[in-house]
Subunit: 333 residues, 2 copies
Amino acid sequence: MGEFELLARLRERLPAAAGRVRLGSGDDAAITVPGGATATSVDAIVDGVHFHRELMTPRAIGRRALAVSLSDLAAMGAAPGEAYVVAGIPTDLDEGEALEILDGVATLASECGVTLAGGDVTRSPALTLTVTVVGHAERPEDFVTRDGARPGDALLVTGELGGAAAALLLQERPQLAEGLDLSDATRRALAARLLDPAPRLEAGAALAAAGADAMIDISDGLGGDARHLAEASGVGIHIDATRLPLSEGVREVAAASGFEDPAELAVSGGEDYELLACVPAASVAAAGAALAAAGTRITRVGVVVAGAGVEISSSGGRRLPPGGYDQLAHGRS
Amino acid sequence: MGEFELLARLRERLPAAAGRVRLGSGDDAAITVPGGATATSVDAIVDGVHFHRELMTPRAIGRRALAVSLSDLAAMGAAPGEAYVVAGIPTDLDEGEALEILDGVATLASECGVTLAGGDVTRSPALTLTVTVVGHAERPEDFVTRDGARPGDALLVTGELGGAAAALLLQERPQLAEGLDLSDATRRALAARLLDPAPRLEAGAALAAAGADAMIDISDGLGGDARHLAEASGVGIHIDATRLPLSEGVREVAAASGFEDPAELAVSGGEDYELLACVPAASVAAAGAALAAAGTRITRVGVVVAGAGVEISSSGGRRLPPGGYDQLAHGRS
């Protein structure tokens, strides 16, 4: 199957013009009618770098590609709008798999109210999915950036942390996985944290509406992303690691893997795709109520302080290093 | 150098907020204030598929990646706005080369009035540049799509054709190149058609303003792109190949390569990145004047007819097949 034929097959699966999209895939460009302001983010996932084809279904690969891009929109508090997907297809990926990948993208897009507005297909030595997402707001200042944190803000985190890192440890060390006393449900839930992260779009919008003044998604690990946020805002951040909401099973995996403190998996393991938000003290109650209404757990894990740097204290006076993952240096993100 | 460091170096070279961009690279997403309507296009170029690293400078690779995306905006008649670049960097590409690639992108962006608003860097087995471009207009209907051609329209083409295909032949057959009586200036000009295509943004805007009712950029060859346009519009297209404006040197290269008709290089060789526009007969004079004012050659090469399909007649009653390049099937585009 050639490029045009595969593109045509992919297009059959794309919705017609919908939402803000006036003309979808098939012309030189897609035509949209944006809101007053747009937030745009681009992300790529590459086989062997960000995921391993043999460990995921094609559908899950597609979902994940879109999810990590949408997580950036969630961190802006943006209303999700359009997505554009470029698929780099190696010769050993068959047509059925390529279409399943797009089905994965399209399913998550539909779940999140995102219109797949365009894309491209090309040959590539490694399966690569590059996703551009566009979110909307009435005014540019409605988006929540990284640089607005102020001393005194409460530091809130959505959902649970450490699950993706724990799942990665289980995946990489089958013997460790066999020896652990974890229920099948817990194992499946951990695997889903790694393989099928859910972008926190509703939570991000609720936090923005509740007055969050800075926000970032946790893709590099809580410590690293807190550092990015602190640097952008010119503030310091204190985190109480004993308060971190850990996914079920993280304690067991951390202990069996020789970590002194299970919070290390949340602090330095990435890919949880939760949100870290700074909220003025007066708005914390409103933010909590909004998140509860959205069905998302929210936990106060620290405070923004004057100064610089990230300090993470744990039980017994221990300090955890604010790690953070560097994908080019370490080979995965 | 790790991902964050390379990203930081790249960001130093990006302009601060400019144009419609309120917040550029560095946050979870870029923030822009669009016009009433946007045109968005995504394209990727992959080493070994769309270009060969060893045959181009890093700077030229960067320019080309942006140029092919901007060509799609030109074909919409869009005012160019923002670009987002994802660079997939193999381990054997050094930091200096990566920065030169971005310099190439940034230089062309500056020349075209485009703001580099964001991007990402990742490891990849092959050098890959994926570029998303966004163009603007007041209203969705201001953009020129592929589907508006009507019988009786004149078929116009900007600039000159066949140069990229001729340059590719010279590149692939050094013996052919040596034996040809071409001046150095002609050889350089042909090579530039292949290696440094110029997106026809001003010409596209002028054609849109002059009343073009359908437009496409010529990336797959005149024949193939005419077919795309004819299918989208539900019309037929007749092209007079004897009128095609061929780049200097194309005749010589075609003859030495055994082509019966030099127009074949224009018809089936891709990558000229000129525009093919359908203009109502009453507007042809205005379009010609507008293009002349923009300093761009424009040639009437055919007519839109009722029916379907593309017919290309050449001298002596010969017919040329409307080829068109299929990148996945043939390994390059």
